[in-house]
Symmetry: C2
Subunit: 188 residues, 2 copies
């Protein structure tokens, strides 16, 4: 089951390593920058999980009300022979309908890009229907792992995006910003 | 099948992106540094694939004749909302029994660390026997993908390490350097 492995890979190869350091990274960022992430309950990595598995590389391409602000200080770790491998997270300003920004640390769940690309490559043997199932399995598996993880407790927020089966053409152009703002409000 | 997804993820999320840029990265490195990677046939990413899936984070811990030399210039790509995500490869000096160094770009296949960690975590449902099967499936799947990949042609070299079932305690302390040197000789 492809998604089972991708969820474990996302946890052991990334979230388990970086989430414990996220608080320090934000505090370090606030030393030289205005305390832009004001609510400590929002000092989490917001992980976007689109059911379509369709993931743009720039959040602005999904919704122009989500605007890159800055990167947090890098986390550097020796990994599997790569010396000083770099891990970083991006801070975004998310605007409401009045143009008021709220800032947060957010990114897409990168492993879903693998599912999307596999469904496009006939050699991979993953149909569109399979892909949908695998996204649900990914979410299910990841939630179970994270709930049992001491390292990750309170440091993440999964934002599942019900963005239709495939193309986002039918969606509200401000769907992403509204979904993120909803979640930020719940945190405060 | 966990390994099937990990192989596709390693390809679509890493090798397909970085291997096309490897030649330029090495040329750029040679501008300011002695042309340390002299044989163009060795301008490949040497990917270490241990059958045990046991992967140290520093190659020196596996074999003191494999010594970090320098990192190649970074490759920077916007990925899934992370602005300027950094990818890099490390150059190592690999010594023979006379202490003569040959340099190459080498690292372990990171997804195998996920398999190893899954086999250690009872929640993941992967036994030691399963793990062995999954490593073989990973190699098989990855080889098939890479052979059909235009982007990766001639830019990689898989080095399968038959390092026993689990602990490397029984091995020659210079097993890794010898295996890498054998492969480098074949390339020249
Ligand atoms: N050697 C090496 N150097 C790299 O820079 C690198 N980047 C990815 N990979 C491996 O390629 C495959 C695809 O990567 P993807 O980004 O889709 O998933 C990644 C991604 O979702 C997340 N992740 C890892 N590193 C980062 C990072 N720096 N920023 C954001 N997410 C990351 O966690 C997953 C597992 O990572 P790894 O377990 O390190 O192995 C990956 C994976 O097997 C790398 N391998």
């Amino acid at each position: 089951n492809v998604a089972h492995g991708l969820a474990w890979s996302f946890y052991t190869g990334y979230l388990k390593l970086v989430l414990p350091k996220l608080g320090d990274s934000i505090e370090q960022y606030h030393v030289k920058n205005v305390s832009i992430l004001r609510h400590r309950d929002s000092w989490r990595l917001h992980i976007l999980v689109p059911l379509s598995a369709f993931i743009p590389d720039k959040l602005e391409d999904a919704d122009q009300r989500v605007q890159f602000h800055d990167n947090l200080p890098e986390i550097v770790i020796d990994r599997a022979g790569v010396r000083k491998r770099v891990y970083k997270h991006s801070v975004y300003a998310v605007l409401d309908h009045q143009g008021q920004p709220q800032h947060c640390v957010v990114e897409y769940a990168t492993p879903l890009q693998t599912l999307y690309q596999m469904s496009q490559d006939s050699d991979a043997g993953l149909s569109m229907e399979d892909r949908r199932q695998q996204v649900l399995l990914f979410i299910h598996t990841l939630q179970a792992i994270l709930e049992n993880s001491v390292e990750c407790r309170n440091r993440y927020q999964l934002i599942v995006l019900d963005d239709g089966c495939d193309q986002e053409a039918e969606l509200d152009p401000y769907f992403l910003s509204k979904e993120i703002l909803k979640k930020l409000q719940q945190e405060e």
